[in-house]
C-alpha cells in the first residue's frame, strides 16, 4: 500500500485553500494523489465493503463539505431558523434529500406515521379524517417542483453581504414530489360555491398555518408523501406535506394535519408579520405568493473558484420560475453590457429548476459574470437596481435580482453588486 508522502500531504491540504489558486496557471500541474498512474491506487489492490455494511448509503466521506449551512446571526434560535442547500455542489436539477434547505418555526417534530391524521374540514359537505395509509390509497401524481423560501437572498437586499452561493441562493431545493392532488381530496369532501379559501395547518409546535385561495388549491397543489425516491424527509414534513408549486416556500405547509375550508382568508401571523412586504411608503403587500423567475450561476461561484488558470471552463447554473417554464437564460461576462444565450438542459418543466451551461474560454482577466432568465410568460429577471425602484430601500423578501460574480485574475470569485 502506498502512503502519501509529506509533499503530497502538503499539496492536498493546500487544495482546500487559496494557496492553490495563487499557484495555479496554465501549465501548473494538478497535485497528484498518491498512487496515480502507472501504479494502482490502494483501493484497486483490496476489497471494498460488502452489501451488508451500509444498508442505508451516505455520500463519500470526501464529500463531507457538502452540507447544509446557515447564517448564525440571522435568527435568535436554531429551531426557528433556516439552513441553505449547497447549490455549488448540486450537479443537476434535483436537490439531494439530505441537503435540501430547511426552514421551520418550532424545530423538526418526529411525527409517528401511525398517529398521523389528516383532517379535511370546515366548509365542505363531508369532512374527512384520513390515516396515512388511507391518504396513500387515493389516486396519486408525481411531479418535479422547486420550493423556494421568499427570504432567499434577503441578506443581499442592502448590499452584497455574504460571499457565498449557498448562503445567498440556497434557500431553495428541487425534488420529485409524489402524492395526492389536493383537488382530489377536496372533491371527495365536496365544496360549496363559496368554499373559497383553505388554511393548511401543520402539526409542529408552531401549528404553522397559511391561507390559500381555492383557485390554487384546485389547480396544482398536492399533499406529498414521497420525495426523490423515498418518504418525505422529517425536515421536509414527514410523513406528508403540502406542495404549492411555484409559490413561496412558507405556504408548502409541512407535517400537515388539517385542511380547513372557509369563505375568507384567516390572515395568519405568517401572512402578516412575516412573508409580507413593507414598502418604502409605509404600505405593505400581503399575499405575495408567486416566486418570480430567478437564475444563478453555480459554477464558478465564491465556493467554486477557477483553480486551474486560464482556458476552457463551462459556466453552469440553475434557473426557475414560479409562473411556469424557463424559456431562455442569457449570460453576461462583462457585467451586463452584452449577453449570450445559454444552452438549456432537458427536462424543462413547469415550476421546476432548469439547468443551463455556456462554454467559456477564460482569458485570465477579471470578469463580471451574470445570468438572466426569461420565463414563458415573458418575464425577464431584473437587476437589483430595478428591484429597489419598486420594493424600496430595505425589503426582506422576493429578491430575485440578477446575481453578479466577480471573477478575479487569481480565479477567486466574489459576490458583488453593480450600479
Amino acid at each position: 500500500m502506498t502512503k502519501p508522502n509529506r509533499r503530497d500531504m502538503f499539496r492536498l491540504g493546500a487544495a482546500a485553500g487559496a494557496a492553490l489558486i495563487a499557484a495555479s496557471g496554465r501549465g501548473a500541474r494538478a497535485a497528484s494523489p498518491p498512487g496515480a498512474p502507472p501504479a494502482d491506487n490502494a483501493w484497486s489492490n483490496s476489497l471494498g465493503h460488502g452489501v451488508d455494511s451500509k444498508p442505508y448509503g451516505s455520500p463519500s466521506p470526501f464529500e463531507k463539505n457538502v452540507v447544509r449551512r446557515y447564517v448564525p446571526w440571522l435568527s435568535p434560535t436554531r429551531d426557528a431558523d433556516a439552513s441553505m442547500t449547497p447549490l455549488q455542489d448540486q450537479p443537476g436539477i434535483i436537490t439531494s434529500n439530505g441537503v435540501f434547505f430547511e426552514r421551520y418555526h418550532a424545530g423538526v417534530p418526529q411525527v409517528d406515521p401511525k398517529a398521523f391524521r389528516l383532517m379535511i374540514s370546515g366548509r365542505v359537505k363531508k369532512p374527512l379524517l384520513l390515516t396515512l395509509d388511507q391518504l396513500m390509497r387515493y389516486p396519486s401524481v408525481s411531479r418535479i417542483h422547486f420550493i423556494e423560501c421568499p427570504a432567499n437572498g434577503a441578506t443581499e437586499w442592502p448590499a452584497a453581504q455574504l460571499n457565498s452561493l449557498q448562503l445567498t441562493h440556497g434557500m431553495i431545493g428541487c425534488a420529485e414530489w409524489t402524492g395526492v392532488l389536493l383537488s382530489t381530496l377536496l372533491d371527495e369532501a365536496g365544496l360549496y360555491p363559496d368554499s373559497r379559501w383553505v388554511t393548511a395547518t401543520g402539526s409542529d409546535g408552531a401549528h404553522m398555518n397559511r391561507s390559500l385561495p381555492m383557485m390554487k388549491c384546485l389547480d396544482d397543489c398536492m399533499i406529498a408523501w414521497g420525495q426523490n425516491g423515498e418518504a418525505v424527509r422529517p425536515e421536509q414534513g414527514y410523513p406528508a406535506r403540502l406542495v404549492v408549486p411555484g409559490w413561496q416556500g412558507n405556504v408548502n405547509v409541512k407535517w400537515l394535519r388539517q385542511i380547513q375550508v372557509g369563505r375568507e382568508p384567516w390572515i395568519t401571523r405568517e401572512e402578516t408579520s412575516e412573508y409580507s412586504e413593507l414598502l418604502g411608503d409605509g404600505t405593505s403587500l400581503g399575499f405575495t405568493w408567486v416566486m418570480d423567475a430567478k437564475s444563478v450561476i453555480t459554477f464558478p461561484c465564491p465556493e467554486k473558484p477557477l483553480t486551474q488558470g486560464p482556458g476552457f471552463y463551462e459556466i453552469r447554473g440553475l434557473a426557475w420560475s414560479g409562473r411556469g417554464k424557463v424559456k431562455y437564460v442569457d449570460i453576461s461576462l462583462d457585467g451586463g453590457v452584452n449577453f449570450q444565450r445559454a444552452r438549456l438542459d432537458n427536462p424543462i418543466l413547469d415550476k421546476c429548476m432548469t439547468r443551463f451551461t455556456l462554454p467559456w474560454w477564460w482569458d485570465g482577466k477579471v470578469a463580471l459574470i451574470q445570468s438572466r432568465v426569461t420565463d414563458e410568460t415573458g418575464y425577464v429577471q431584473p437587476t437589483i437596481v430595478q428591484k429597489h425602484k419598486f420594493w424600496g430601500a430595505d425589503p426582506v423578501y422576493e429578491n430575485n435580482s440578477i446575481q453578479t460574480w466577480q471573477v478575479l485574475a487569481s480565479g477567486a470569485v466574489n459576490n458583488v453588486q453593480l450600479s
Binding site: Q161, P265, V416, S419
Partner: protein
C-alpha cells in the same frame, strides 16, 4: 366545481362554528374593498364557480368522518371575523403576570425584545420612515391574529398549552403595552375582532406584480463605463466559513 350541487339545502346552518365564517358579517372589521379582493382571490374572480368536480363527494369512500369534538380540537385558526374564538376573557393586569413568567425572558420585560427575540411593542408610526420597526402593535392588521398566534405557537418552548383566559389576558396586555387598547379593556370573543389595529388599512392584498420590466437585451445593453461595483461581500466580513464543519461563528470556535 360546484354549480351542480349548489343549493341552500346543503349549506351548513349560518353561524355553524366550523364553517370558517361564523360571524354574520365583517362590517366594521374588514373594509369592503379588502373583502372584495379576498373573495376574488379565492374564487379567481368567479372562474371557480364554473369549475366542475372530477368526482362526487364520497366517491372513493376512503377515510372516516371526524367527530365534532375531533374537528373542534384541531380547528384553531381565527380569522378577522373572530369566528372560532372560544368563551373566556382576560385583562391586561392578568396578562402582565403571565407575561412576566412565560414571555418576558425572550420578549423583554416591556415587549422590547431580548437576546435577538422579536420585540412585541413599539414602532407605531415608524413604518413609512427611514427605520421602520415592525411589531404586533405597529404592523399587524388584525388583533385576531395576535390571539390566534399566541394560542397556537407561544410560549415558544411549550406551544398551544395556554388556556383561553390566559391567551385573552396576554392579548390584552400586549395590545395595551402598544397603546392600542386601554388598561381596563377586556379581551373576549366579541371585543378582539373589533380592535382597530393602527396598521389595519395599510396592506395591499392584491399582488401588483410584475412590477419590474426588464428586457432581454443582448448587445450594448448599458455603457461599459456605467458598470461600477457598488458593494463587494468579500469586504463585509459577515460570511461564515464555507468549508469544514458547520461554522457557528462563535468566538473562540
Amino acid at each position: 366545481m360546484l354549480g351542480a350541487q349548489a343549493g341552500a339545502a346543503q349549506t351548513p346552518p349560518p353561524g355553524s362554528p366550523h364553517d370558517g365564517n361564523a360571524a354574520k358579517n365583517y362590517a366594521g372589521i374588514v373594509s369592503k374593498k379588502n373583502l372584495q379582493i379576498w373573495r376574488a382571490e379565492g374564487d379567481g374572480d368567479g372562474t371557480l364557480a364554473h369549475d366542475k368536480p372530477a368526482t362526487k363527494p364520497g366517491y372513493y369512500g376512503i377515510g372516516a368522518v371526524p367527530s365534532a369534538a375531533q374537528i373542534a380540537g384541531w380547528t384553531i385558526a381565527v380569522p378577522p371575523s373572530g369566528a372560532g374564538l372560544p368563551a373566556g376573557s382576560g385583562t391586561a393586569a392578568a396578562g402582565a403576570t403571565i407575561y412576566a413568567s412565560h414571555c418576558a425572558m425572550c420578549h423583554g420585560g416591556f415587549g422590547e425584545g431580548a437576546h435577538n427575540y422579536p420585540a412585541l411593542v413599539g414602532g407605531v408610526g415608524s413604518l413609512g420612515g427611514s427605520s421602520p420597526q415592525k411589531t404586533v402593535g405597529s404592523y399587524w392588521p388584525y388583533a385576531t391574529t395576535v390571539w390566534d398566534y399566541i394560542n397556537r405557537a407561544m410560549p415558544f418552548y411549550a406551544p398551544h398549552t395556554l388556556k383561553p383566559d390566559e391567551v385573552y389576558a396576554l392579548t390584552a396586555y400586549i395590545l395595551n403595552m402598544n397603546g392600542v387598547t386601554r388598561s381596563d379593556w377586556v379581551a373576549d370573543a366579541k371585543s378582539v375582532p373589533l380592535v382597530k389595529m393602527p396598521n389595519r388599512n395599510a396592506f395591499n392584498w392584491k399582488d401588483p406584480r410584475p412590477v419590474t420590466h426588464n428586457i432581454a437585451c443582448m448587445k450594448n445593453c448599458v455603457s461599459p463605463s456605467s458598470v461600477k461595483i457598488t458593494s463587494n461581500a468579500v469586504t463585509m466580513n459577515l460570511t461564515p466559513r464555507m468549508t469544514g464543519p458547520v461554522d457557528h461563528m462563535k468566538a473562540g470556535q
